[in-house]
Symmetry: C2
Subunit: 321 residues, 2 copies
């Protein structure tokens, strides 16, 4: 949560001259975003987020991410819109970094979502899936089955430092998922990181989805499984079936799920829990001295993974079957 | 540069209900301020800065700081105004911290100020000194001569780790300043930290002074000396007499300096350089693991101190004598 690249007053004023967005009135680095440097910018016309893409983002992916946001906005999805400069260009360069000016999306992220927030999230995610279906670019999910294998190989020797028995759990889960991961479910573009941080509400109404920098092509219902993990467990680790049920109902209202999707929900949830367990574990074991990022506990996702391993029927997620 | 206390959407929405400032539309932690947690807040009415005061600020000083800002705004000085809640209260509590809502001051801080910026700074600083003259509260400067002695005692054993010979320099300078520090110059409330970070410009015009959290009663011309150190040296260490001359001329236009003030400028500049050398040295030698603050080099102020030690006449600052 930091600003990695510092942009001076002269640099930002000159940069904004290339747009038709008025003059800079205020410019402040914000303590958000683990991967990139973000500024809140006010001009004589409006407010914006200025993002400078840092080393963990592959510049080759930026046309996909920014093009997707642009596509979704034009389809009526509430998401931040990339702003074109006077020559129609979205992806620019500032202080030696790829950079983009993004419209300011009002709203607050909620740290304790209730069932109605989950319902709205499900609805908006399904609308987003539908709206993205005719986007012309694609991006492989680097954090799917083969990516998990790389992370398991990287972490296995030291996993037990974090939690005794974790190394064995990683291996048995990896074997199961590799052998059973669904092959024929509907695919499309997913957000892949719809945590509460990335969903804004205003006056109780969902006002937008942000941070598309993990978006990729994958199983659509896997996006739902990521949200079940991120939205439907309480702080103490308990699963809240009411929230899951509302999330699934909201989703299905906009994009009804097929029976194979419903039957696969438990393995998709296992995969989602495994993916976040692995990336958190990797970051935990490879801490950078002086890093400005607050690390997230891997243990939370061990608990979630174990919950899904014990699920016998989709009805345990509150699904209508 | 970080947010130390995290305020949730529920907490900020409830907090803002106590004001007559509309509903929260957006709320983001900003990567500014070494001492406190700062958020940029937009409501249906306007934009604000919300500050939560962290451990390095003495809560007993807050009525002075906030009262001073309120006083200056009413006197027509461009500074951020503390906002009163529905009951007229400025200093509040949020998430267990003292907190205040402050009006949003437009403008950008300039990292390479030119002579005209220095002139405007001098003018506005003098206006601020005049406007503060009838403020009823007072605050001792903890970082004046006796405070410097404490820092010298704390740092002397390890000072040479930072720069060989520094320990001896600290002692000789401390002795000189203690014996010769001016006793009878005009005093009043000074800002005491008017670095370029804390001065906003918009379209080339000074739009405001911020961050009054070092303000105190001291020699008025000492505030000028702090600015000569902070604004009139180039990045390579060279002194820019044109900038200093413009700064002093701007100041004198609003509050003409007496002859004793002019004659004392060199020792005041030595004292100001010494004060920032000492605090940076202290922070350098007492680094906190995992701190989110980027430390500033003490060496820059060794160079500045040595410059002032060699000054023979106020004319070397571009002063009219």
């Amino acid at each position: 949560m930091a600003v990695y690249t510092h942009v001076s007053a002269d640099e930002i004023s000159k940069f904004i001259e290339s747009y038709d967005e008025g003059e800079v009135i205020s410019f402040k680095g914000i303590a958000e975003g683990v991967e990139n440097s973000n500024y809140i910018l006010q001009t004589s016309k409006a407010s914006y987020i200025l993002t400078l893409y840092e080393k963990r983002v592959n510049p080759d992916d930026l046309p996909f991410f920014l093009g997707l946001m642009d596509h979704l906005v034009h389809k009526g999805i509430n998401c931040a819109a990339p702003v074109r400069d006077g020559q129609g260009i979205i992806l620019k360069n500032l202080c030696g970094r790829p950079a983009a000016l993004i419209s300011f999306l009002p709203g607050l992220s909620i740290n304790r979502p209730g069932p109605d927030h989950c319902f709205q999230l499900g609805q908006e995610m399904a609308r987003m899936h539908r709206a993205a279906s005719d986007f012309e670019l694609g991006r492989k999910n680097a954090l799917s089955v083969s990516g998990w294998k790389d992370l398991v190989n990287n972490c296995e020797n030291r996993a037990d430092e974090v939690s005794p028995g974790l190394s064995e759990l990683l291996h048995s889960e990896m074997d199961f998922l590799a052998a059973n991961w669904p092959q024929n479910l509907p695919e499309g573009i997913i957000h892949a990181d719809l945590f509460p941080d990335n969903v804004f509400f205003m006056g109780g109404e969902l006002s937008g989805l942000i941070d598309y920098y993990f978006a990729c092509n994958d199983i659509l219902a896997y996006d739902v499984a990521i949200c079940i993990n991120a939205w439907c467990f309480e702080k103490d680790g308990a699963f809240n079936v009411t929230k899951a049920s509302r999330l699934l109902r909201g989703y299905s209202r906009e994009r009804p799920m097929s029976e194979p999707e419903i039957m696969a929900m438990s393995i998709l949830c296992r995969g989602a829990a495994f993916r976040f367990l692995l990336s958190r574990l990797y970051d935990w074991l490879n801490q950078v001295d002086g890093a400005l990022v607050q690390l997230k506990e891997p243990a939370e996702y061990i608990t979630k993974l174990k919950f899904h391993r014990a699920v016998k029927s989709p009805s345990e997620y509150g699904m209508d079957i």
